[in-house]
Each structure stands twice: as structure tokens, then as C-alpha cells.
């Protein structure tokens, strides 16, 4: 099986590589344009619609430090496609090298079911969920900055921190049930 493996290639010098997986192929392009503008580190961005990635790019592909699943909460297919792609990741990625980025959470008023489903998925995989706004350039810039913070840690460029340490701080927690009373 063509699992994507985090540790089977050598890292580049002062380089970080991020993989953006999005079914709609919209937000990833604008994010990518902002991410490559980073000057302190050389950022490589790979864009994909789903996993698995095509085999023929395997040799030329650098080691992927962070995989980001971009999910549009207004579309059911987006959630399903992200879930289906998760199967093609080596378990080593789930130690802090996977992150979910969710857009249109405000519009998805009728779709709280989807948001809960994504949250539960993230909780079970110990991954963070970031909420992003993709329509304005400021939204794109701020999401890119947050991704860069996590990316730098995940690619080992921040001393004394690893992806696993960071994931303990950023991982998603399921909000307590509203029905349950807070003090008992």
C-alpha cells in the first residue's frame, strides 16, 4: 500500500514541506501563495485533492513534515473525502504531523453535525482543528501564519520542541455535552 511515510526520507537543510489536501482545490492555492513568501525558512508546498499521492512523484517528493486537511463545512463531500484520505497516511504522522483546517464554520449553522463529526475525528486522532476564513486576504494570511508556526515545529526547526510536544498543547478537545449539568 502506498502509505505516506514521515521518516523514510532525509530532511532538507532549513527546509520545511507542507502538504495541503483539499477536495475543492480552492483555498489551498491562495494559502500556498502566502506560505512560500516566508523568508526565514524555505517552505515547499505540495497540493493535492485526495490521498494517495501518485507514485510517479515519489522520488522527487521531499519529506513531508505536515499534512493539512482542508475541510469545507458546507459540503458533505469535503468531509467524506478527507476521511477517506486519512487511511493513506502512515501512523507516524499522527504524532503531531497532521492538522485539520476547517472553513465556513460560520455559514454551517444547519450543519453542526458535520462540525461535531470533524471534531470527534480530530479528538480520536489527537490532532488540532484550526478554523480559517478563506474569503479575505487577511483571513488567508492569518491561517498561513498559524500553519507556519506548527510547520516549523513539525519540521524540527524550532529547538527544544518536537511535533509531539506541540500536539499535546494544540490537540482538539471535545466540548462538554450541553445536556450534562456542569456541577453534579
Amino acid at each position: 500500500m502506498s502509505l505516506l511515510n514521515p521518516f523514510n526520507k532525509r530532511p532538507g537543510l532549513n527546509t520545511a514541506t507542507i502538504l495541503l489536501v483539499e477536495n475543492e482545490e480552492q483555498f489551498q492555492q491562495s494559502l500556498a501563495n502566502v506560505l512560500v513568501e516566508e523568508t526565514a525558512v524555505t517552505v515547499n508546498v505540495r497540493l493535492a485533492k485526495t490521498l494517495p499521492l501518485p507514485m510517479k512523484n515519489d522520488e522527487s517528493r521531499p519529506r513531508i513534515d505536515l499534512v493539512v486537511f482542508i475541510i469545507n463545512l458546507t459540503l458533505d463531500k469535503s468531509v467524506k473525502s478527507a476521511k477517506a484520505s486519512l487511511k493513506y497516511l502512515d501512523p507516524g504522522y499522527f504524532l503531531g504531523k497532521v492538522c485539520f483546517m476547517v472553513t465556513n464554520a460560520r455559514q454551517a449553522l444547519g450543519c453542526t453535525g458535520r462540525l461535531d463529526a470533524v471534531r470527534q475525528l480530530a479528538v480520536s486522532l489527537h490532532c488540532p482543528v484550526l478554523f480559517a476564513e478563506d474569503q479575505t486576504p487577511e483571513g488567508v494570511t492569518s491561517s498561513a501564519r498559524r500553519l507556519l508556526t506548527i510547520l516549523k515545529v513539525a519540521s524540527g526547526l524550532v529547538p527544544n520542541t518536537t511535533a509531539l510536544y506541540l500536539s499535546n498543547l494544540t490537540r482538539c478537545a471535545m466540548p462538554p455535552d450541553i445536556d450534562q449539568p456542569s456541577f453534579d
Binding site: 501563495n33 512560500v36 515547499n44 499521492l53 463531500k77
Partner: protein
């Protein structure tokens, strides 16, 4: 001016927006410049109507002239009302050399033979289209100009577009058309819509086509621009393939603004999880209607982003290919022109 002329003029003034009314009156050329200046277009529609009525009385215009005005308006704004398409079949030998004068004479004479008291006006537009306005009457009544039928025909093509036709007049019109264009039959082309320009462009294929080629892309660039060096699309080839297939099915660039597609299903119900419905022998009849400001754009977008699977299913790609937007789908029918095989569940 008699009653029907007055009523027609009132109806027209109410229907036409004021700005367009001024331009249409200019094109009409039946009023002198002084009379046109007399009508004050900043007033309410009622006042404009009264002034126009007065001016037309001065010129002693009849209902025929007002009908001309209506025709000019409709020719300038054809994207209103519902247009239906018909196709002429079995051309006779001299159909291809048919010219305008001959067509006009023949059409008028055939139609008057079939029905007394019809008022027919034929006009040739600059883009080769022949516009025909028909007001129907019968042996006992004058032609009713308030409910006129409009027909657009491009000579030497087999297509006819009709709007405002009542079913009792349909066989008469179709017979007159068939005889005067020297064909042996006429059938329904299953294409209808509000925008005449859109259905005409679709049928006459006046949009940018993408022809399938064996080697679709030129040699890949060796030196990519600096900003793109760090961004790489893993599945660029798949995405380019999808774009290409969507373009081949629907075309490039601006597509004719077709607004609906209707599929009438007479197929058996097929769903493995629902036994009771699947057991029934009779086909489940239902009608699926797609509507959008521009259906072909929407379908092309669906295909190129992967929402619809590529290669594009013939159910969708027949809309531009066959130039129709009404389909009847039955189970595994032999290849008759209005039926297609059931493919998906």
C-alpha cells in the same frame, strides 16, 4: 384608430420600459421628429400612452403599424417569453436554394389557405434571421393582435423557433412552414428556453468548441517561474485531464445561457437497500429538472472539479451535443432518437 389598435398600443407602452420605448419609437420611423419630441418620456406611463395615442391618431396609424412597433421591440429583446424549437426534416431537392422572396410568398399563401383572416408580417433581420409575426383570426373574427405568435427561421437551416403559439394553431403553422420551406416534415426538437439567443447559439453551435486531440498539451516548460518552484501540485495531471474532458464535452469560454434541462424518467426503481420499491414491475415515473442561470457552465464546472465523474456521462453531454434539453429516459431501449439507455442507479 380603431379599438384594437388602441388596446395594442396601450399594452405595448405598459410592457416596454421607458428607456427602450424611446429607442424603439426611433427605430419605428413612423412618427416625425417633431411628434417624437412632443412625447414627454419623464411622465408616468399613463400620460405617455395618452400622448402617443394622440400622436398616432394624427398620423392615422392602424393596427398593422402598431404591430410593426411590437415586432421591432421583440426583435430587439428576444430573450422573453418561452421559445420552442422545431426541426424540419426530409428536405426536397430545391430546399437548399430557397430564397427570401419565394419563402415569403409561399408562406403567406399557404397560411391564408389554411386559415382565413390571419395577419402575417415577415421581416428579415440583419443576421440572416427571418422573423414572422402572426396574428390569428378565423372566419368570424378579426385577427387577434394581442396574442401574436412569433416565428424565427434561418433560411437554409432546418431550425425554426416559435413563441406564443396556441395548440390549436400549431398544426396549421407547422404545415405552412413545411410546405413553404420545401421540406416533407417537421418535428419537435425538444429544446426550449426563455433566451432565444442562447438556444439559437446552442443549436447552431456558435460557441467555442474543444476538439479532442491525441496530444493535448504542448511540451512542458523547462524553466518554471520562481514563485511556482516551491509550490507543486501532486495531481496536476489528473486535474488537467478533468478540465480537458469537461471542455470537450461542453466547450470553452462563454457558453450559451441555457437555463433548464428536463429529464423524464421512465425507468425501474433501482436501490439495493429498498426491497419494496425495487420489486415493482412498472417503471417509476419521475421528472428531474436542472435549472441555473447558465446550466452548461454549471455542468462544465461540475465535471472539471470532479463533482461529476469524467469522462462526462452521455446523459449530460448530449445537451450540447444533440442540442436538446428535454430527454425521455427508458430502460435499455434500442437507440431511438429520443431515448437513451439507463446507465447509473
Amino acid at each position: 384608430m380603431d379599438d384594437s389598435a388602441k388596446r395594442l398600443l396601450q399594452r405595448l407602452v405598459r410592457r416596454i420600459p421607458t428607456q427602450m420605448l424611446r429607442d424603439t419609437l426611433d427605430k419605428w420611423e413612423r412618427l416625425t421628429a417633431k411628434q417624437r419630441a412632443f412625447v414627454d418620456f419623464t411622465q408616468s406611463k399613463w400620460t405617455i400612452t395618452q400622448e402617443l395615442l394622440a400622436v398616432c391618431e394624427e398620423r392615422e396609424l392602424s393596427v398593422k403599424h402598431i404591430a410593426e412597433l411590437e415586432m421591432i421591440y421583440v426583435i430587439g429583446n428576444p430573450n422573453q417569453g418561452m421559445w420552442h424549437t422545431f426541426q424540419l426534416v426530409d428536405a426536397e431537392d430545391d430546399a437548399h436554394s430557397l430564397e427570401l422572396v419565394q419563402f415569403k410568398e409561399q408562406f403567406k399563401s399557404h397560411l391564408s389557405e389554411l386559415k382565413r383572416n390571419v395577419a402575417v408580417k415577415i421581416k428579415k433581420h440583419t443576421d440572416e434571421a427571418v422573423w414572422i409575426r402572426i396574428a390569428w383570426g378565423d372566419t368570424f373574427s378579426r385577427p387577434n393582435h394581442l396574442k401574436a405568435t412569433y416565428v424565427v427561421h434561418y433560411l437554409q437551416t432546418p431550425f425554426v423557433f416559435v413563441s406564443g403559439l396556441l395548440s390549436k394553431h400549431k398544426p396549421l403553422l407547422l404545415q405552412a412552414l413545411t410546405l413553404s420551406t420545401r421540406h416533407q416534415g417537421i418535428k419537435d426538437a425538444n429544446l426550449s428556453g426563455q433566451k432565444l439567443t442562447a438556444i439559437r447559439d446552442l443549436l447552431m453551435r456558435q460557441y467555442q468548441h474543444v476538439f479532442p486531440t491525441k496530444y493535448p498539451s504542448p511540451l512542458a516548460e523547462r524553466n518554471r517561474s520562481v514563485s511556482n518552484l516551491h509550490i507543486e501540485n501532486e495531481q496536476a495531471e489528473a486535474s488537467a485531464n478533468r478540465h480537458r474532458m469537461a471542455g470537450e464535452a461542453f466547450g470553452n469560454g462563454m457558453l450559451p445561457a441555457l437555463q433548464s434541462a428536463v429529464y423524464k424518467l421512465e425507468t425501474k426503481f433501482r436501490d439495493l437497500t429498498n426491497e419494496t420499491m425495487t420489486e415493482r414491475d412498472k417503471p417509476l415515473r419521475c421528472v428531474v429538472k436542472f435549472s441555473s442561470p447558465n446550466i452548461l457552465e454549471s455542468l462544465r464546472h461540475c465535471a472539471s472539479t470532479g463533482i461529476a465523474s469524467t469522462p462526462v456521462t452521455p446523459l449530460l453531454s448530449s445537451i450540447p451535443l444533440k442540442g436538446r434539453n428535454y430527454f425521455v429516459i427508458t430502460d435499455n431501449a434500442p437507440s431511438a432518437s429520443s431515448q437513451m439507455c439507463q446507465t447509473q442507479d
